[in-house]
Each structure stands twice: as structure tokens, then as C-alpha cells.
Amino acid sequence: MDGAVGAQPLLELTGATVRFGADAALDDVSFRMFPGEVHSLMGENGAGKSTLIKAITGVLALDAGTLRLEGREMSFATPQEAQRAGISTVYQEVELLPNLSVAENILLGREPRSRGVLSQRLMRARAGEVLRDLGLDVDPASLLGSHPVAVQQLVAIARAISTEVRVLVLDEPTSSLDLDEVAELFRIIRELRDRGVAILFVSHFLDQVYEICDRVTVLRDGKLVGEYLTRQLLRIDLVHKMLGRDASDFKTRHREAAEEPDAPVFLSARGVDAAPGIRGADVDLGEGEVLGVAGLLGSGRTELARALTGVSGLDAGVIRIEGQAVDLDSPRKAISLGVVYSSENRRSEGVLQDLSVLDNITLSVQAHRGVFRRIRPARQRELAQSWVEALGIRPADLDRPAGTLSGGNQQKVLLARLLALAPRVLVLDEPTRGVDVGAKVEIQNLVGELADNGLSVVFISAELEEVLRVGDRVAILREGRIVETLASADMTVDSLLALVASPDEQEG
């Protein structure tokens, strides 16, 4: 299917740069797609995948660089313009209308009319054609909302291809589909490909990428890593390119405390099932131990963290703290048992943007004490000030709204809030994502110090090097299962990489 290479690209992006404030979300990236190919875009969170998609579908404007469609330079002000030019997108979240019929969802905006009046009959007939064309047996008159998400997804594709589509962007289309449904989707993708449509398939499931994609473009930290033919790229190399870092640069640094192997287990989880996707997870966390969690995006890293901290309930299994079975039914309950969680979504689930640094730091302690036992203002200030100093939060202004701080400092404010609770277990979900290098090292070192003082830490990161460096042991997650838990000392980045990527290296 790479026969098209050498011909003129259907879509070509050169030197594309998109900035949000001072940060470049996309930095001088070139990208091309040929007619009749399925192309994958790979990268971890924050690599710039969604920014690139937005840039080619008219959602975001380029700050620098050019977009060419069939050699003609284009710039789309709106998604509609991109659509008119033949670039359609199907998003991960179905962006259709559950309260309207399938036919309307496919055709609304360019619906057939007879004598100015919208004809439901014509509309159903035409939508029926499109659906049959895709081999879908769905009643066009039925409400979209009456179908499972998978069908809604396929209807979204039907809408996308009911126009003259030349480039079809599928953003994480399979994340909510089961195996049969994925097979159905792939059948459709292949058919479209054979008609000459260029398909951009974004997924974090490696198996699927290797099954359907002809070529793959890898992004990391907003930069282009490279473009490869899928069949020539070993799976482990792909993961390596996504996660970055050369094994040779890598220095492990283990703490003394890790040497004693028999630290008493503080928290243990057995057979934990949690929606969506965590199956039979066993976790043991010793006192003063840092347990790193490694896994690709979508492997269940976050879901595991949330199950351990009462944020989302367990479907099965039991969690014990110091041997006592506990029911972590809310974050509040978990906090009262000394288990605290820092979300990967710092802005939406962490720091309260409009509250001051002071209020943010003291919030959880105050909530834990209850409404009526207010911490005296002087004591609050003292408490917050001590954490601002201990963690080096900048600017050291307690009254500034936390939302005005940089990402790294917001993360520290969040850490201060949790540490002020004097917790026993700290679960950190990607605490160093979107944080500058200096703050990153500080946070890593902090975790080490905390563990030396007897705190148990679960440290989740997409960066394997970081997980190895910070963790005493590392739990490796793949597709919702903990496949292995090994001591960091026994691993190198390469061996960890192999475990994270896949057991079936022959597939690559």
C-alpha cells in the first residue's frame, strides 16, 4: 500500500508551528498523506497529535508553516471550510445529535428538499443509500441516541463520507468499541482506502495501528520524530521513538532505603476490577516505597490510580490498608485513611484556578477538619508559607490566584495541598507532565525525600526513564492488566520498553 509514495501527496503540511502563549504545541512539523493510504499519527499525551489534527481540519490556525491540499496552498478558517475542501473528521467523542434521527445526523446541513420543504422521505432514502454503501444495516429513521456508541461512531463516519471526502481523520475511533466493532470499522476503512481516500487513523492501540496502517508519523513534545513504513518499523522501535530518550543517556539512581527488601506492606490491592478496563490488578505498596507505574497511554494507568484512591469505585476486588479491608467509596474517605491522589488533569481536577494559593494549599486540610473547625488565618498563612518555601513555589505570593501560576508551580501547589494532610500514601498521576525541566527534577527529588521519610508513593509517568529513576519497583501495565512488577534495579530502559510495548515482538 505504499505504492503511492513518490506521487504527489494529497495533503502536505510543512514547517507547521502552533503556539499557545509561550509554549509551542507544534514545532516546525512536516507531515504528508497520500491518496489511498491509512496513515497513523503516534505520540504520548502532549506530543502534539490533537494540535496537528486541529491544524489540518480548520479548528486551529497555523502560526507558521503551510498546508497544501493537492499542491494548492490552503488555509481554513473553520471546520466547515475544511470539510468543503474534502477534509472530514470523526472525533473520539461522537459529535452528533442523539436527539435527531440517524438520517438527519448524516444529512443535516445539506439535506434534500422538495419545493423548499424538507423531505423526511427523501432524507431517509438518501441516508439509507449511504449506510448501505458502508454495509450498515441501520434504520435511518431511528433516533441516533437509541443506538450504542459504536453505531453512533459509524454513523459519524457515514456523515463524514456522505460528502466528497478526500481526507478522513479518525481521532481515537476505537477507544469505545469492542473487537467485533473494531473489525467492522476496519472493513469500512479498507474500503474507503481502496476508493482512494487518505485516512488518518489516530489510536493508542499498537495492535490496531499495525493491523490497519500503511505508514506512521511519530511526534514527541510537539516535534516530528519521523515518518516510517509500518511494516519496516519494529514495534519496540516505535514505542522507543514515541517515548524518546536514548538508553545510553540514562542514569539510574537508587535510594538507600530501597535496599532493604522487606519493608512492611502498607497498602495492598487484590483482584481489583475497575471500569473502564482495569482487570484483576494486584498491587503491594510498602512503607516508604515508591512504586512506579509504566504503561502506554490507554493501558489503564489513570484508571488504576483512581481505583486506588476512591475517585472511582471498584467493580471487584479488595483494598487493604495495614491488613484491614477498607471501602474507599469517595476521595474524602480515602483522604481520611491517608490515601491522597493528584490527578493528571491539573487544570480541571486539581488546582482551583480562581482561589488563592493560600486557599488552594489549605483546602483539603480544612475540608478534612470540617466546616466549623476553621484553621486560624495566621496558622493558615504559616502552613501555606511553609509549603511554599519547602516546595519552592514561585512566585511566593500566597494571595495570587493559583490559576496564574505556571504548570510546574500549580503542580507544586497541588502537592502542597496533599502533603499538608500528612498522608501515608501519595498517588501521583503524571505529576511532571507539562512541567519545565527544572521543576521536573525538583518534583522527582521531592518524591525521593518523601519516601525516605516513610511515605508510600505511587508514581505514574509516561516517561520510562523517569519511572525507573524514581520508582523502587515498577508495575508494568498493558491493556488494563499489571503484567509484571519488577525492581527497578533489575531493569534498564530497554528492558522496560520491551515489557511496556508488547510481548509479541515477532509481530513488529
Binding site: 471546520p79 466547515q80 470539510q83 459529535e95 452528533l96 445529535l97 442523539p98 436527539n99 435527531l100 434521527s101 438527519e104 443535516l108 446541513g109 445539506r110 439535506e111 428538499r113 420543504v117 424538507l118 423526511q120 443509500e129 449511504v130 448501505r132 454503501d133 458502508l134 454495509g135 450498515l136 444495516d137 441501520v138 434504520d139 429513521a141 431511528s142 433516533l143 441516541g145 437509541s146 443506538h147 450504542p148 456508541v149 453505531v151 459509524l154 463520507i161 456522505s162 467485533d180 466493532e181 467492522e184 472493513r187 474500503e191 476508493r195
Partner: protein, 341 residues
């Protein structure tokens, strides 16, 4: 898209029984059916209780006549609520346009100017609300609140007391009876039913109407589909304001006078009727015909209460209770559809 050689995969299970297929197509109608059931129960109960004195041609004809103004308001409100908005101004708009028309007629302005002026007055207040909502990001609740204040104040600016209407053209709307046996229809009733008919046509058979539903379903998606969201949303409020003017005309004809205190709290009655008729306050789901049923339920309860000689206070309590019932039911429906996603 011409290759049609693929055989349909049977993977997607099509609704097998007619019932399932009907439900898949018309699930949103269920609350409206519930309203029909409630209406039938009310009528049957009253008939049994009053030993056959309730469902008479006279009573049933009066039901439409007495509630024509409310039906017109409910139709306009349905447009707004379908876009997930709300319009608190309609009761006051009805009072304002009613007194405005009466004042114009008393001042010797011909009826063919006075009536369009009433309708335009209502539409103008709707336009103000719509512009605030769409272009200044004001919550519909607050924007229509400003409309409520404005219309109510303007009603008193026009006149502080009621003005009798002698204009034969307006009174004709009320006094004329088109009879069929003991059944009758007044021109106000016909206007109200025509409003319903036009609304059904617009909502179901025009792109504008489908855009109203699309906005209520998901405004962002509607915009991505290339529908004209801004214009449609403003238009919904204009329609509601226009209906307020039309209701003002109907009420003026009904009471033979304009009165600036008319319609205090009527916006709540209209909202209640729409919700009882099965339209979700979260937008996107509901039917104008449901609102018709809602108004009939409302009117029937009122009639039953006056027949039983009970206090009118029960009216508010029963309507409040019905509203609560429907809200809780809707909440359950929404929660279920969210779980499915």
C-alpha cells in the same frame, strides 16, 4: 460513493419487532404519551366523579376558548425550551401588548395598524432577549428576566389601569361561535390551533425547525454541522415574543379589555404546560403537540377545580406537583441515556 457491491453486514442488529422499531424512532415521544394518559385519566375521573356532567360539548369547547392565550404562549415557549433556553417574559409581554393594543384602539388607531403593532411589540422584546442571549452570552434566564421587567414596566407606562376595548373587529374574535351541534370554536381558538399547526410544520419540515432541535441536542455539534446557530437561536426568542403579542391579542379579545396586571405568573403556567407536555427543559426533545396536551391538562385541572368548588390554590399546588413528577421522570431518562454513553 458509487461502489455498492458490498453486502450489508448483519452485525448491527436492526430492531426486530415493530414495537422496538417504533421506540427506536420515537423514544422522545414517551413523556408526551404520558401527558395524554394523564389527560385521559383526568377527563375520565372527572366524568365518573361528576356523573357524566363533565365531558360535554360545552365544557370541552370552553376548554380551548379559555386557554387559547396559554396555548399560544406555550407554542412560543416550546421553541425556546427546545433550544435549551427559557423565556420568563411571555406573561408580561402578553400584558404589555394587550394594553398597548387597547390604548391604540381607544386613541382611534385603526385595527389593521393596532394589531400588527401588538405583534411587532412582542417580537421586538423577543429580539432584545435573543440578541442578549446569543451575542452577549447572557444566560437566557437573566436576559428574559430583563425582558419581563421591561414589558411589565412598559405595560404600566401605557396605562396604569385597564382599558375597555370596543373595537368590533377584536371583539369578533371572541364572540363569534362557529357551531357544530353543541360544539363550537371561536376565532381565538382557531388562531391558537393554527399557531400549533404552523409550529408543527416549521419544527418538523424546515431546516430552521431541525436546527432548533439540533441546538438543543448539542449546540457545538450543530455549529460543526454547518447549521446557522446564531440566527436560529435569536429567531426562537423572536417567535416566543411574537406569540406573546398574539396571546395579548387573544386575551384582550377574551376579556374585552387590556389590563397591565394581566399575566403575572403566566410564564410559569406556560413553562409548566410545556414540561408536562413532555418537552425536556434541557432542550432538544419534545413536541409542540405535546405542549397542546400540556395546556389541555392544565385547563382540565382548572375546570375540575372550579367544578368541585375547591380553592384555586390547589391549581398551583397540583401543577407544581405535576411539574415535579415530570422533572424527576426526565431526570431519570437523562441519567439513563448518560449511562449508555
Amino acid at each position: 460513493m458509487s461502489t455498492t457491491t458490498t453486502t450489508p453486514a448483519v452485525r448491527v442488529e436492526r430492531a426486530s419487532s415493530p414495537v422496538e422499531s417504533f421506540l427506536a424512532r420515537h423514544a422522545a415521544m414517551i413523556p408526551s404519551f404520558a401527558a395524554v394518559v394523564i389527560l385521559v385519566l383526568l377527563l375520565a375521573g372527572a366524568e365518573a366523579f361528576l356523573r357524566g356532567d363533565f365531558i360535554t360539548a360545552r365544557n370541552m369547547s370552553a376548554l380551548l376558548l379559555d386557554n387559547a392565550y396559554l396555548l399560544i404562549l406555550a407554542v412560543g415557549m416550546t421553541f425556546v425550551i427546545l433550544t435549551a433556553g427559557i423565556d420568563l417574559s411571555v406573561g408580561s409581554v402578553m400584558a404589555f401588548t394587550g394594553i398597548l393594543g387597547a390604548q391604540l384602539l381607544v386613541s382611534g388607531i385603526p385595527v389593521w395598524i393596532a394589531v400588527p403593532a401588538m405583534l411587532a411589540g412582542g417580537a421586538a422584546i423577543g429580539l432584545l432577549i435573543g440578541v442578549l442571549v446569543q451575542y452577549f452570552n447572557v444566560q437566557p434566564f437573566i436576559a428574559s428576566l430583563a425582558g419581563l421587567f421591561l414589558a411589565r414596566g412598559l405595560a404600566f407606562v401605557v396605562s396604569l389601569s385597564s382599558i375597555r376595548v370596543e373595537e368590533p373587529g377584536v371583539l369578533w374574535l371572541q364572540q363569534t361561535r362557529f357551531r357544530l351541534g353543541d360544539w363550537y370554536l371561536t376565532p381565538t381558538g382557531i388562531i391558537a390551533l393554527l399557531t400549533v399547526a404552523v409550529a408543527v410544520f416549521v419544527l418538523h419540515l424546515t431546516r430552521f425547525g431541525r436546527t432548533i432541535y439540533a441546538i438543543g441536542g448539542n449546540e457545538q455539534s450543530a455549529r460543526l454541522m454547518g447549521l446557522n446557530v446564531a440566527r436560529t437561536k435569536v429567531a426562537a426568542y423572536v417567535i416566543s415574543g411574537f406569540c406573546g403579542g398574539l396571546a395579548g391579542l387573544a386575551l384582550t379579545a377574551y376579556s374585552g379589555a387590556g389590563y397591565p396586571r394581566n399575566g403575572i405568573g403566566t410564564e410559569l403556567d406556560a413553562i409548566a404546560a410545556v414540561v408536562i407536555g413532555g418537552t425536556l427543559l434541557t432542550g432538544g426533545r419534545g413536541y409542540v403537540l405535546g405542549s397542546l396536551i400540556g395546556v389541555l391538562v392544565f385547563g382540565t385541572i382548572k375546570t375540575i377545580i372550579s367544578f368541585m368548588g375547591a380553592e384555586q390554590a390547589w391549581m398551583q399546588i397540583i401543577v407544581g406537583a405535576l411539574l415535579l413528577l415530570f422533572i424527576v421522570v426526565q431526570r431519570v431518562i437523562v441519567a439513563r441515556s448518560e449511562r449508555r454513553r
